[in-house]
């Protein structure tokens, strides 16, 4: 970005600045309130101001075997769904980038459909299909469901990176004597690595948090979001839920943050390398 624009950039009015700041706070403050509530000694209500302060709920939550099982399950599901999304999304992006085949637009449309349609459509569609085929609901049916909407995240990230990369770079590599495999390893992979990382982390966060599709594709399995959801409608363990919600925010925050930072940096350096 040209630095000269800073001198010509207009100044925002006070009203606009305040409104923008207000929206920003509206987006973020509610999440901080959960942090606050992890410290409440009150087990049955959400009384504010907090009647006191305690850190005992972290210890209580750590002791809960059901929570650990849910956390482990969510990790496993998210990891496998992410790997599947990385493979399928990268292949689709490479195909769309490489050639101008008929129906390119349809591929993008097909991939984006699972997140463009309401989650409940994907969820119930998968449920009728899985149920109709008499496949038992299991760990794998959750993964299959999650992979459908994670693919597009990787696809978008990788395709955007491909489009930013000079097309002649691959030709240059082969011209200098590298075969397709060497070209992939020494030129393509290093250039899309951070896009894979960003896409993978977002896919992981997406899967780790997902509840709508999961409620339809899970059998007896309880992922962490399903555990939280059960607490939302019928709160039994309020203090523990606060701790779990905090943990979920922290677990998903880092991958999301780094993924966004990587994408931002990538588009920043674009101007320099060209």
């Amino acid at each position: 970005m040209p630095s000269s624009s800073s001198s010509t950039r207009p100044r925002a009015t006070w009203g606009l600045t305040l409104a923008a700041l207000g929206t920003l706070l509206f987006l973020h403050v509610p999440m901080w309130i959960i942090f606050l509530y992890t410290l409440t000694p009150d087990e049955t209500t959400y009384t504010f101001p907090l009647p006191g302060f305690t850190t005992k709920w972290f210890g209580v939550a750590l002791q809960r075997a059901d929570l650990w099982r849910a956390l482990t399950l969510s990790f496993q599901v998210a990891s496998i769904a992410t790997v599947a999304a990385l493979i399928l999304g990268t292949l689709a992006a490479a195909a769309v980038y490489r050639s101008n085949f008929f129906g390119r637009e349809s591929i993008s449309f097909l991939l984006v459909l699972p997140i463009a349609l309401p989650g409940i459509v994907t969820g119930i569609a998968l449920r009728t299909a899985i149920g109709g085929l008499d496949i038992p609901f299991s760990f794998w049916t959750i993964v299959i469901g999650h992979a459908t909407f994670c693919v597009v995240v990787v696809y978008n990230n990788v395709l955007a990176r491909f489009r930013r990369t000079s097309a002649t770079m691959i030709e240059a590599s082969m011209d200098l004597g590298a075969n397709s495999f060497q070209t992939f390893r020494y030129v393509v992979l290093p250039n899309i690595a951070t896009a894979l990382l960003a896409g993978g982390m977002l896919a992981f966060a997406l899967s780790f948090d997902e509840v709508i599709v999961t409620t339809f594709t899970a059998g007896q399995q309880t992922t962490l979001p399903i555990w939280i959801f059960s607490q939302l409608s019928r709160p039994r363990d309020r203090p523990v839920t606060n701790v779990v919600a905090t943990i979920v925010i922290l677990i998903t925050f880092l991958p999301i943050f780094f993924a966004q930072k990587i994408s931002a940096d990538a588009s920043d350096t674009e101007g320099e390398t060209k």
Partner: protein
């Protein structure tokens, strides 16, 4: 050896394309489109009223059930909510999107965009949960309302039929607030993207031609931001339409589409009705997408 394999593939680009395309396409077509198709099929089945078993025969009986007054009301209620949420999100999103696109320094812009996208990706469920705490009768919002001696106004609001309830955390007003909050980032980003594409020279040209800032805003910025608003509304509308978590968490006995689908297939075990019911949002979204494309919203996505 590798060289020879590489050459084999190099001379057959169409084969390589097929190899790349087959796994993702197969997965999406078989698993995803296949499921959607089975959903469509199921919506044309019906349930036996006595046994509760699905009869696998073509019938339009289930679709007729959608038009019962109770279900019609559910559709109306959900669509109204989705519409209002979309409008309010567009109003709230605009200042921040405008600020990011046109006033923030490059460095600040990067950070602001990250600040907007983090809530977009982070746990939707936890973000709903946060409002359960905030809106609770004894919670933080009530405390502030009390502080400003507005309890009377709140009670009056909650007593209104149709939108009121026993507390904010169990009322359509509460649901509305949470929906607005949850989908807000989906509106900010497309508007920002659309405004970003308005070249600075265009604004200068407008003021150069004698337009006051307010005129420039009305005649140049708003029309150019409109495709972004439409693009964002695709998300806010669609997501509100299909959501069942928020109604289940903050709603009352008055159902929303997602909630109805959830309970028909779950406790009711009536998959055909649930399937037919989801066709509602699907049709609405398809029509919406077609209109949005007309309005040029896809460029802002």
């Amino acid at each position: 050896m590798l060289n020879r394999i590489s050459t084999y593939f190099y001379q057959r680009p169409k084969l390589v394309l097929a190899i790349f395309l087959t796994p993702p396409l197969l997965y999406m077509v078989v698993v995803y489109l296949g499921s959607l198709f089975s959903l469509l099929i199921n919506s044309f089945f019906a349930i036996d009223d006595f046994t509760g078993m699905v009869i696998r025969e073509f019938t339009l009986k289930t679709y007729l059930q959608i038009f019962t007054p109770a279900n019609r009301e559910i559709f109306m209620r959900t669509a109204t909510m989705a519409f209002l949420v979309t409008i309010v999100d567009a109003l709230i999103a605009f200042p921040l999107a405008y600020y990011i696109a046109k006033f923030a320094s490059p460095k600040l812009k990067t950070w602001l965009l990250i600040a907007v996208t983090i809530p977009l990706w982070s746990s939707y469920l936890v973000r709903v949960y946060a409002w359960k705490l905030i809106l609770a009768k004894e919670g933080i919002l009530s405390w502030f309302i009390n502080l400003f001696h507005l309890t009377g106004a709140l009670d009056w609001l909650l007593s209104l039929p149709g939108i009121g309830g026993s507390s904010l955390s169990l009322s359509p007003i509460g649901m509305f607030i949470v929906f607005v909050y949850i989908w807000l980032p989906y509106m900010i980003i497309p508007i920002q993207t659309a405004l970003e594409r308005v070249p600075g020279s265009l604004l200068e040209a407008s003021s150069d031609l004698g337009a006051k800032p307010s005129q420039t805003f009305r005649t140049v910025i708003l029309p150019l931001a409109f495709p972004g608003v439409v693009a964002g509304s695709i998300f806010t509308f669609s997501l509100t339409l299909g959501d069942f978590i928020v109604p289940l968490t903050l709603g009352n006995s008055k159902f929303f589409i997602g909630q109805a689908v959830y309970s028909y297939q779950g406790t009711g075990g009536n998959i055909p009705l649930a399937a037919a019911m989801t066709m509602g949002p699907v049709v609405i979204m398809v029509v919406y997408l077609l209109i949005a494309r007309r309005l040029g919203a896809f460029d802002a996505l």
